[in-house]
Symmetry: C2
Subunit: 208 residues, 2 copies
């Protein structure tokens, strides 16, 4: 890794998200389009583009956090009790679509990451991927273990399962934890991604 | 990385998947439970456990491929034209829930990975994560670029977008491509994960 050579912008550094809303209801089109329109009010300077499978959102972490939290809150209200699953992918440090030729070294902002509670309680599965390259003492599990400890301290930790950490709590708190953990690993590792799957209003008897 | 010291088993090596079916229909409970019951017929020696957010499936790659393809095909038939989204996570080389203390070095089977066509055409977004540790010349983008080239050769490549490669084709062919790419990176990198999001029967006008 090379040292930071001036601060990149979120766009030049490839900071962004992909999100897909999956309301398990015959009204899914209205729920998705209505929630996207509602979240547009807090889009601010974020770039957004909805594709066939998910919606891309690019911009800084605080804006992403507010947008994603608002979007999921809006979809949940519009689902009106129907089961809703949401997939979120966050990525940083690899701005090209198929190349990562950024040469500025690891960089992360330090602005506070806070989100208003949504009132929506969710279960989630979370995985964090620090994509290291060379380095004699590199250990990609070290930042993962630190993030799991952080989840435990947050009160949102709901257990570990194969390949994922389970979280339980307000959607905004879960997003704030995950966004901060992903952003902070980025201070030491250039290319970091994280995947988060929410389950809201599930009729399944939740395993304890 | 240490050299291989005898072949691990898929279970000891942590080879497995998590899958979540999201039928966007009021009938989602029947579709999901019916598809899981139907896929049980091809479960063979795989370990399965359904949690609050997704279902874990552990075992070797060929069995996983057959199971996942059968499950998605069954869910699509039961959805009967309704929109269905499916999230798949494959992981290998990190068998513990929160630790990766495996010490056998990179290992991958070489059995052929083939799946009967399902007749279900899907769009998908795919990302592949080789989780490297030390190594002076390590470059985590190298296996990712090789996998994208492989997608292009397969005829399933549908473009690149931020953080994902787009695929389009029969669900079984997409799963076979992704499973093989993930497995084959595993011959050189111990811990490898991959995420795949399918969209089936979407009413959205697909961007070309």
């Amino acid at each position: 890794m090379e040292p930071t050579q001036g601060d990149p912008t979120p766009t030049s550094y490839g900071v962004g998200a992909r999100i897909a809303l999956h309301p398990m209801s015959d009204r899914f089109v209205d729920i998705i389009l209505g929630a996207l329109a509602e979240a547009d009010a807090v889009r601010g300077g974020l770039a957004t583009r909805t594709g066939a499978v998910s919606t891309f959102v690019g911009g800084d972490e605080a804006d992403l956090l507010r947008y994603l939290s608002t979007l999921i809150g809006a979809a949940t209200r519009r689902a009106d009790g129907a089961h809703l699953a949401v997939s979120v992918l966050l990525s940083r440090g690899c701005p090209g679509e198929v190349t990562c030729d950024l040469r500025s070294g690891p960089w992360a902002s330090t602005t506070p990451l806070e989100a208003e509670p949504t009132g929506v309680i969710a279960r989630a599965e979370w995985s964090l991927y620090p994509l290291l390259d060379g380095g004699a003492d590199a250990d990609h599990m070290e930042p993962i273990m630190a993030a799991i400890d952080r989840a435990k301290e947050s009160g949102l930790f709901d257990g570990s399962d194969h390949y994922v950490t389970r979280l339980h709590g307000d959607v905004a708190d879960i997003l704030a934890l995950v966004t901060a953990a992903w952003r902070d690993v980025g201070a030491h590792v250039q290319h970091v991604t994280t995947h988060l799957s929410f389950s809201i209003n599930s009729p399944t008897q939740e395993p304890s």
